[in-house]
């Protein structure tokens, strides 16, 4: 039993890496623009279908889809930004409905192009078992956990060291003060959307490489990403990383100990619990109370 639990913890951590990437994108955009991009999961899904297309049509490894996904997803992310910036009033609520609409468009576009069938990789190399100490995983799971870790380290460096990264942080914490320091909030908003797009691209390819995808999946990913940011407490980047791992672990444990049907439920339950008991999240400092 304890071996099963340890194995579930391991799988959960590997899965949590991709979750964290997705949630980080959502959190970055919310930080600079105060907009929850409800189409974020669909952006991830788009990258996943790029990987599917490269594998099924070109016969190449899904890894080659990464450049293609980067271009397409970042373009879409910037488009979302422009549409959101066109909203004239009540942006907080209208942006929710707008990005919800964009999500519908993307989901149905995917449905039109690739049909509703469930897709997964056929690459044996990806699916090979890899043993690390007492733990098993698919090669792709481990590979993309490493990729996610590198990306998160890069993001961490970028936010704390580079000028743009610091600008993103400055705008997130105090827009007016950032303006006075000569930072153009619009530029940082676009940059945050692009970075979110980059993270989504990798996450999408990762999800295809070790899991199954279908058009309705994007919506579920958005919900997961939002759950993670709530677990973390909005505004806490390290919190989001930990939150991603937490959700991955919670889901894996549920599948091992209860049933896979309840996998989705555990995230929701965790989410509502945190929302009710600790409205500032596990790591958040800022109050959200009205």
């Amino acid at each position: 039993m304890s071996e099963l639990i340890l194995q579930a913890l391991y799988s959960g951590v590997l899965q949590g890496g991709s979750y964290a990437l997705i949630a980080l994108g959502l959190a970055l955009v919310f930080g600079t623009m105060k907009v929850i991009n409800l189409a974020h999961g669909e952006l991830v899904l788009l990258a996943a279908y790029m990987a599917y297309m490269v594998e099924s049509k070109l016969g190449l490894s899904p890894l080659f889809a990464i450049p293609l996904a980067l271009v397409l997803v970042c373009t879409c992310a910037v488009l979302v930004y422009f549409l959101v910036s066109l909203i004239r009033k009540d942006r907080e609520l209208n942006s929710l409905i707008l990005t919800y609409g964009i999500g519908i468009i993307l989901t149905n576009a995917v449905l039109l192009i690739w049909s509703a069938d469930v897709r997964s990789t056929s690459s044996a190399w990806f699916q090979d078992a890899v043993v690390v100490g007492p733990f098993y995983s698919m090669r792709s799971e481990l590979l993309f956990f490493v990729v996610a870790s590198v990306l998160m380290a890069g993001l961490w460096w970028w936010l704390s060291r580079s000028w743009y990264g610091r600008a993103v942080r400055a705008v997130s914490s105090n827009r007016d003060a950032a303006k006075l320091m000569g930072i153009n909030p619009r530029t940082t908003e676009i940059v945050s959307f692009v970075v979110a797009g980059i993270l989504a691209s990798f996450a999408g390819v990762a999800i295809f490489s070790y899991g199954v995808i279908q058009p309705a999946f994007g919506h579920a990913l958005t919900v997961k990403a939002f759950i993670i940011t709530v677990l973390a407490g909005i505004g806490s980047i390290p919190g989001v990383m930990v939150g991603g791992l937490l959700l991955g672990i919670a889901e894996a444990l549920t599948v091992t100990l209860a049933s896979s049907a309840l996998q989705e439920l555990v995230g929701m339950a965790l989410f509502l619990l945190v929302l009710f008991l600790m409205p500032n999240g596990l790591f958040g400092a800022k109050a959200r109370r009205g």
Partner: protein, 317 residues
């Protein structure tokens, strides 16, 4: 309550002319009933948005709970359908109680918490199979009865029922909006703090609007289940019960009472008759595009836009 002459004429036409002219065409009647079901949810959704200032992506939870409560009460407890429908609404209100702590949170939190919440209900309905029949669902849910020799379970009978339900909703919405509570809710929309310091309990008022909205949606869900006679979790809690009403309400104008209804009929019929035949799978893409376009170009919806236009024409004349 004041009802204009045009209003009375429309109501009379809806009760008499529509059944007489279209009643024999089952296909058209089923389209109209489906559009009115969407309209009912759209109205409830818009009430929450307009008076409560809240965007919900989880109304499918109320729709599904209302449907299950009413179906189970009639099937397992033998309750009369119309009483069960009301209790379906009550069930949705009870379901909404869990949302109360989220009401104090601002902005996107409510919208997303309620979305998460809808997912939970779907899973519960699937897993709790001893009561709900699980993913196989419930078959042969009781139909509407005969009333004075008139079979209400047919298309025309069902149409008259949902029409009456919608009219009751409109009347209730109007009464709430005109009440002191309604004025206070409108006041909160722009300056919540200033409204609270004169003694308005904003959380309570929002909670009441959530209850009203949940009740209406639950009743519509209950109507639907007795209309189609079967129920399964994927259907009862489908995202469609959220998407279509939102598009309808935004299209028609969620700040008006009739907008969501007009929007529902327009959007649903156009979607079913035109887009669905053009793009059989994925036709909702057009709905998404419509939603995006409306938010950018006319977030107030089409009804206010038309009204402004006619006012301008009046002024010019």
């Amino acid at each position: 309550m004041y009802v204009s002459k045009t209003g009375l004429a429309v109501i009379a036409a809806a009760y008499v002319a529509v059944p007489l002219l279209l009643g024999s065409n089952n296909y058209v009647m089923s389209l109209i009933v489906a559009a009115m079901i969407i309209g009912g949810i759209a109205l409830a959704w818009a009430l929450l948005g307009n008076l409560g200032g809240m965007v919900s992506f989880g109304h499918s939870a109320f729709f599904g709970v209302g449907a299950y409560v009413s179906a189970l009460l009639t099937m397992k407890a033998g309750m009369p359908i119309f009483a069960a429908m009301l209790l379906g609404g009550v069930g949705a209100v009870v379901a909404s109680l869990v949302m109360l702590p989220v009401l104090r949170l601002k902005g996107p939190y409510f919208a997303l918490a309620i979305l998460a919440y809808a997912h939970i209900f779907k899973i519960i309905a699937t897993e709790w199979s001893s009561v709900t029949g699980g993913s196989a669902g419930l078959a042969s849910v009781p139909r509407f009865p005969e009333l004075m020799g008139f079979d209400l379970s047919g298309k025309t009978g069902s149409y008259l029922i949902i029409l009456t339900v919608l009219l009751a909703f409109v009347a209730a919405y109007r009464a709430i909006r005109a009440s002191h509570y309604g004025i206070a809710l409108r006041a909160m929309h722009d300056s919540e703090d200033a409204t609270r310091v004169v003694g308005v309990n904003s959380t309570l008022l929002k909670a009441l609007m959530l209850f009203v909205s949940a009740f209406m949606t639950g009743v519509v869900g209950a109507f639907n289940v007795h209309y189609i006679n079967f129920l399964e979790p994927d259907y009862a809690f489908s995202g469609l019960w959220v998407t279509l009403p939102i598009v309808a309400a935004i299209f028609g104008g969620y700040r008006t009472i009739l907008g969501p209804l007009v929007g529902a009929v327009t959007v649903y019929l156009v979607d079913q008759l035109i887009f669905k035949s053009l793009i059989p799978s994925g036709h909702q893409l057009v709905l998404g595009a419509l939603l995006v376009a409306m938010i950018i170009f006319s977030p107030g919806g089409l009804m206010p836009l038309l009204r402004k236009d006619s006012r301008r024409k009046h002024a010019a004349a």
